[in-house]
């Protein structure tokens, strides 16, 4: 469990975090949302020991960050937004290097390669990888020490939908193996797809922390989400798509949408009434469009 109590961090006169308190449950995928400058990066930096808070207390798996950061770093890992590896080294050399630096076990090293489907790319120079492959290498490096906690800082920036889905699916698998994931992203549909709980930050303060289910349901909304089985025709229908397989519509247009799906042989998986989407909720609560 990650227990953050009343932490404050200022850079000069600017408060990056203002008396922030959060609790992240063990084995969950926790979404951290906020506009640019909300304090997400500062919080991740503090959790990884790169920056020290001015005041407040953080305990990670019962260890105090002020006194036990070295132990904490051994059980946690950050996947930075930047591709933080060496382009001139091969995939294998990169993984070897980061594994040796962390004194990683061979089994964990092998698992990181398998989970991220990098086995066939080990001898390839990192600079020649595709965007998705680079992202997978970036993630694999963070897994070689078999962390109990992983911080993902916008890990899917600039990659194709297929690679993005693969990464999101693998993150869901981490939860099943008991790993705690803290995930920041500007893509709300990603948060909706994988997170159990979400916190929204603004100007260094916590606006809300709740389960995803609570945030996007039981609200006075006439929005309906129609989830279908994957079809290449869907994109040509001119409908509002929340993701590759979710159509978002209003109650008044539902019949027309279903008719269109039938005409194009697109099979319906489920229909969710009274739903809102996280992006709309996020914009409502932050009153800001800069996401």
């Amino acid at each position: 469990m990650i227990d953050i109590q009343n932490i404050t961090k200022s850079y000069g006169s600017k408060k990056a975090l203002d008396n922030l308190s959060l609790t992240i449950q063990e084995g969950s995928i926790f979404g951290l949302l906020g506009v640019n400058g909300a304090g997400k990066t500062t919080l991740l930096s503090i959790l990884n020991g790169l920056v020290k808070q001015d005041s407040g207390e953080i305990r990670i798996s019962g260890l105090d960050t002020q006194t036990s950061m070295q132990e904490i770093n051994k059980i946690s890992s950050i996947i930075p937004q930047h591709l933080a590896f060496y382009d001139e080294l091969s995939v294998g050399e990169n993984l070897d290097f980061f594994a040796k630096v962390q004194d990683a076990k061979q089994d964990d090293y092998t698992k990181a390669i398998e989970v991220n489907s990098l086995k066939s790319l080990l001898t390839q120079r990192a600079s020649t990888l595709s965007g998705g492959q680079k992202r997978r290498l970036n993630i694999a490096i963070g897994l070689v020490n078999n962390p109990k906690i992983i911080y993902f800082d916008e890990p899917t920036v600039g990659i194709d939908p297929k690679s993005r889905n693969e990464i999101l699916d693998s993150i869901k698998e981490y939860r099943e193996s008991g790993i705690t994931v803290v995930y920041t992203s500007h893509y709300m549909n990603e948060i909706e797809k994988i997170c159990d709980e979400v916190a929204i930050l603004s100007h260094g303060k916590l606006l809300v922390q709740d389960s995803l289910e609570n945030l996007i349901s039981n609200r006075n909304s006439d929005t309906i989400n129609v989830e279908v089985f994957h079809s290449s025709k869907l994109i040509m229908l001119g409908l509002t798509l929340l993701s590759e397989t979710i159509i978002q519509t209003k109650e008044s247009q539902l019949v027309a949408v279903l008719k269109q799906c039938k005409e194009h042989n697109i099979a319906i998986k489920q229909i969710q009434y009274g739903a809102t989407d996280l992006e709309k909720y996020f914009l409502d609560i932050t009153g800001d469009c800069d996401v």
Binding site: V51, H82, V101
Partner: protein, 378 residues
């Protein structure tokens, strides 16, 4: 962990072809070109004037003058006037008429001091020729007169006992070029080191390593060691070029007169300075392009000030004092002391200490800046 960090650094440098060219090939070529190109400029005994001589007198005296010129190593007789720097014409009746003058035509851009030197050397040859003729004339009349005349045949070297000021040691072209371009080449680690460093910083790789419990000190030292090794390899290669390759081009070979321990000490000390400066640039630059530009300009400036491009001993006094500002000059002086003065470690200890202090100081400042930047995420 430390071993992995060092291995990684070596892999990155040795995969950077441009860095390898700048570190190893460029200084070697510079040494070769500059040693060969400047061998005459640095030589103290290789003045050679190209002369064309026309003897219109064709007498004993004129023939002796011609013979003396031919035998004088300071003159090179050429067969046509176009190749000559000096055209000497011995007029008719030169022997007979006491006021008859040898005509001297200077061709091309010859400096006044060279003309003066030429006249002095030529005068010696002419006087000797005249004295020979006079001695022959007296040969059968007075043995004493002949002997007296022969005794007058003395060269300037016999008259003047020349001593050089012991504080000024003029290197030959190889002795100047090898240490100068070793120093310059060693500072070229600035470019690969700062480029790799900046990329690591910008891509948050250093922050990632820091979150893996790699300390700033470990990061910096693990970078310093490979470049120090690379610098020592450079020194060995450049000394090899000076000793074995340069002589193949009819240029004096490098002679290492001083102690090898002193040579190692000055190399390591100079390397620490080059690495310290590289680290400072790397942690301060905003981009690798900026680091490369700043590094390149700084390298050339330090080289120009430090006596790499223009040897210190031919600089005006004010400029010679200015060279003391450049760490390259401290290193170059150390190398020259070893090559020219057979210096041992005690003789260059002050320079070694200065360079080491500068290097370690720069490295510590760069660590503080890096720590600040990682904490600020910039």
């Amino acid at each position: 962990m430390f071993r992995a960090m060092i291995q990684k650094e070596f892999l990155l440098v040795f995969r950077d072809k441009h860095a390898l060219l700048a570190l190893f090939v460029m200084p070697a070529i510079f040494i070769l070109i500059m040693s060969v190109a400047m061998k005459d400029q640095f030589s103290t005994n290789s003045i050679e004037f190209k002369v064309f001589v026309k003897d219109s007198d064709n007498t004993n005296v004129s023939k002796k003058i011609l013979k003396n010129i031919e035998e004088d190593k300071k003159f090179q007789i050429v067969s046509n006037t176009q190749d000559a720097e000096f055209f000497i014409k011995i007029p008719q009746k030169f022997e007979e008429e006491i006021e008859s003058k040898i005509s001297l035509s200077v061709q091309g851009a010859i400096k006044n001091n060279q003309i003066t030197a030429f006249k002095a050397i030529l005068l010696e040859d002419i006087l000797h020729a005249k004295l020979d003729t006079m001695a022959e004339h007296f040969k059968n009349q007075s043995a004493q007169a002949e002997k007296a005349l022969q005794n007058l045949k003395i060269s300037s070297d016999a008259i003047f006992s020349t001593k050089y000021n012991s504080s000024i040691h003029i290197p030959n072209a190889t002795q100047q070029s090898v240490p100068a371009w070793i120093v310059f080449g060693m500072f070229f680690v600035i470019i690969p080191m700062s480029t790799i460093y900046v990329n690591e910083r910008k891509q948050n790789t250093l922050a990632r390593l820091h979150s893996m419990n790699v300390s700033i000190v470990s990061m910096s030292i693990s970078k310093a060691i490979p470049y120090m090794v690379i610098n020592q390899i450079q020194v060995v290669i450049m000394l090899g070029v000076g000793k074995y390759i340069v002589p193949l081009f009819d240029t004096p070979a490098l002679l290492i007169n001083g102690s090898l321990i002193a040579l190692g000490a000055i190399s390591i000390a100079l390397s620490s300075t080059a690495i310290g400066i590289s680290s400072l640039i790397a942690v301060s630059a905003k981009s690798s392009e900026q680091a490369t530009t700043i590094g390149g300009i700084l390298n050339i400036l330090l080289g120009a000030i430090g006596g790499v491009m223009v040897p210190k001993f031919i600089m005006p006094e004010a400029m010679q004092k200015l060279t003391e500002l450049s760490p390259m000059s401290w290193g170059l002086d150390g190398f020259l002391d070893i090559f020219l003065l057979s210096a041992d470690l005690s003789m260059i200890l002050s320079k070694v200490t200065l360079l080491l202090s500068f290097g370690v100081g720069s490295l510590i400042i760069s660590m503080l800046i890096l720590d600040y930047r990682i904490k600020k995420g910039i």
